[in-house]
Symmetry: D2
Subunit: 261 residues, 4 copies
């Protein structure tokens, strides 16, 4: 920073002939040479990924792009119906719902894993760590994020695939083991099958990639932005927001037709 | 659609063991096999790109990720300062500004190109088409989007690079020629150098990729979402929103200290 | 502005002991003395309203607060379900849909009225003006905003009441007459009953209040913000977003259960 | 709810001739009869306020409308500059920043007051309660919301006025006393003057009005929506967002001109 400068940003700057992003020349070093996923990694981590990091990070992002008619997709479609001239507002509206409930569980899982690892000796057994984590959360009536799934049974297929890729690339380290152990401990203590779901798998692998837990949500945010643009494209071609609204209204206000005099 | 079904979506659905996106199995056909940029193409176009389409589309998206301290980046940072627990809201706020002025010029340029091509015989000279377009817009006092740049002179380096990649991959077709011709015509009619800028290059190449003009803005929206997450990461580590606010307030309210009794 | 000042705002400023808003002392001249609706008028028009303006403006705002389970209310509820810790994001998401389709029709109606009046002699007959407006819009296949209603028949009860208040307060001037004449002309030319709806009534009365058409949407925006907070309160007490989502998903993806092998 | 109904809303519904909101007929019982502030109270509390509740609630809302060039106002202006056709998006962007830092301190103060009162005998001395609260928060290194102000000294003039109105209307009860006691205790324990600020005053008075703490933020949200529309109106007439952006960019990137070779 210069002597009198009050704040500074180091991400990007331009001159008449060049644009520099995180120290790389946009035209000669990024365009046509870097993948979009690596660019996202660059934005988040401040450097380009190694080849294994690149493939692993891309798999995480891909998992988060599209989940069908989630609330965020419905929100984007309904918003577009009211403001078709402002597609950006429809995506913005959809992103606003990526909070503690949906994308947040991934963040909390990553936080649990990273804090546990930070506070433990390197040789502490992950089983022991998992046992403590599960016991403490159950004792304080907190949910255990990253395990179980209401639909995917007996196991979330994304977890299987993500852990397979992680193993291939050498990211099946202690965070992954701890996450699996948490699923096992929770299954045992709660006497039902609660294997690691996609959320937990992403949290564990993001931790292997040394992505700080408070940034993990960001991967969900930009990936879902890609997904929401897809829903907007379909909504434009095949509008359904009005029908959705009508169906909801009919259901929610049915009692006024029947209960009221 | 089934007999009584009121609306349907064809993007994605899940069963106990599978997640299908645009007809592809997420785990076996997408994760670890498709790039994030191809996934975005799949969401927008409903099919995976060919290899040249893939590289070309990725270059467009990359160009739009990061532009330094743009209004959308400042907006995301200031929003984060007020609600650090809701990073998704900061990205959403930033995206809301991607309207007719910033991202919209790309959309309008694509619209002009696509409508001109739709309404003309295949053998109409692009120079003739460009002349008409420029004359009509000047006559109706409309700006000509996609040409000139306040900083990058004599030419926007992104245009050079994007057109280079387009040539390499075989996307330097009639839309690109028309865009270049519009720049030339405008330069001539307005007697100043107005070469195609990044916005115009993206509009032309997106048209070569047969992306409908009203969807072009979507590429800007998801790419900027990636960029904004980067600004949020820097803001978290190196907060500057409060200093920005203070500087603005001091400037904007200076007259109350000096003009008022 | 001071000699070197680059920009200035005249809305509000603070000293150690005072806060001034539009020239009024917040504590001694606004709190406990001005109504919330008058404060909104002050923000928009830069001065406090006269008593009739005050009552008229308040009626307009009140009409726009609550419309039941509109898309914006559904959007706010679904967003809250994903991010219950960020109520502001749920309201923001809901507001994003107040574009050209919903709130925009009010804006367009006001624009038509204000531009017509601006371009005509004071003694031009409103019937003649209305005839021209309706003919021109039908000829160019543009909809006529502010008339007809899919549910409220034979007439929108809000129009009746708003025009009644306008008459009482002396705001039943030429804009109101022109709006009514447009409804009559459209009914005649399209051979069906298309009386002025709430949107048209608000557009006409806002014009009587000399509110520029491009600001009219703002009344809808802040009024709906009040309404959306109400929906968030109900959603918190009686959550229904998940059920809504389930219902939509079941309907939209029904074909995958029936059409697919 | 009807036998098979999956969810229901009780806020508003329409028939051909009537619109009912919280049990009141919009046209005959609300328009021209209820104030906008009372309508907001109705939306939040499900009933109209008594006259003292009405005046008190209105004073709270008024206090929150306008604070000058806050981050939310800057955000709304910058968003408008990029998307002038989508004013609703500019307000939405501005609202996204009303989180834990700005509006949230009001919420936290209300939570502290309401939880303390809930857990104590009615005759527990507020001084004792305040002492415990302050000690506990200092011991756990949590900030004490609702006290002190960086600019308004020796006391926030809004607090003085709000407490004056509260006294007049009979809302100077135990919550107000507890809030004042917290300010006193904090001043004593931290050896500096930390009187109740506007945030604390609103939290205390909202509690007197029996508004649940998790809804208090909602008052800030809709009030700021009114304020932001005001900033948008000024920005439209007197654009300053580009100048703001330029000033920030120049400052933040200064080191590239000076530090770099």
């Amino acid at each position: 920073m210069t002597a009198k400068q009050r704040f500074r940003s180091d991400i990007a700057w331009s001159t008449e002939t060049n644009i520099t992003v995180h120290g790389l020349d946009l035209c000669s070093e990024i365009l046509g040479k870097v993948s979009l996923s690596d660019m996202a990694y660059l934005q988040i981590m401040g450097r380009l990924p190694t080849p294994p990091e690149s493939r692993m990070f891309e798999a995480l992002a891909l998992t988060l792009v599209e989940h069908g008619l989630t609330p965020s997709a419905i929100v984007a479609r309904m918003t577009l119906a009211g403001a078709p001239e402002a597609m950006q507002g429809a995506v913005a509206a959809g992103l606003n719902g990526l909070g503690s409930v949906f994308v947040g569980s991934m963040e909390t899982a990553a936080k649990i894993l990273q804090e546990a690892m930070l506070n433990q000796h390197e040789d502490t057994n992950v089983e022991t760590m998992a046992k403590t984590i599960v016991q403490e959360r159950l004792a304080t009536k907190q949910s255990i994020p990253g395990i179980g799934h209401h639909m995917h049974k007996p196991i979330d297929p994304r977890t299987v695939r993500l852990f397979e890729i992680a193993t291939e690339l050498g990211f099946n380290g202690r965070y992954v083991s701890l996450m699996v152990a948490i699923g096992n401990q929770a299954s045992e203590q709660l006497s039902k099958s609660l294997p690691v779901n996609a959320t937990g798998a992403i949290a564990a692998i993001a931790s292997e990639l040394q992505i700080p837990w408070h940034i993990v949500r960001g991967i969900g945010v930009f990936s879902r932005a890609i997904g929401l643009v897809g829903h907007i494209v379909e909504e434009t071609r095949n509008p359904m927001a009005r029908q959705m609204k009508k169906m909801i209204e009919t259901e929610a206000l049915a009692h006024f037709q029947t209960d009221q005099p």
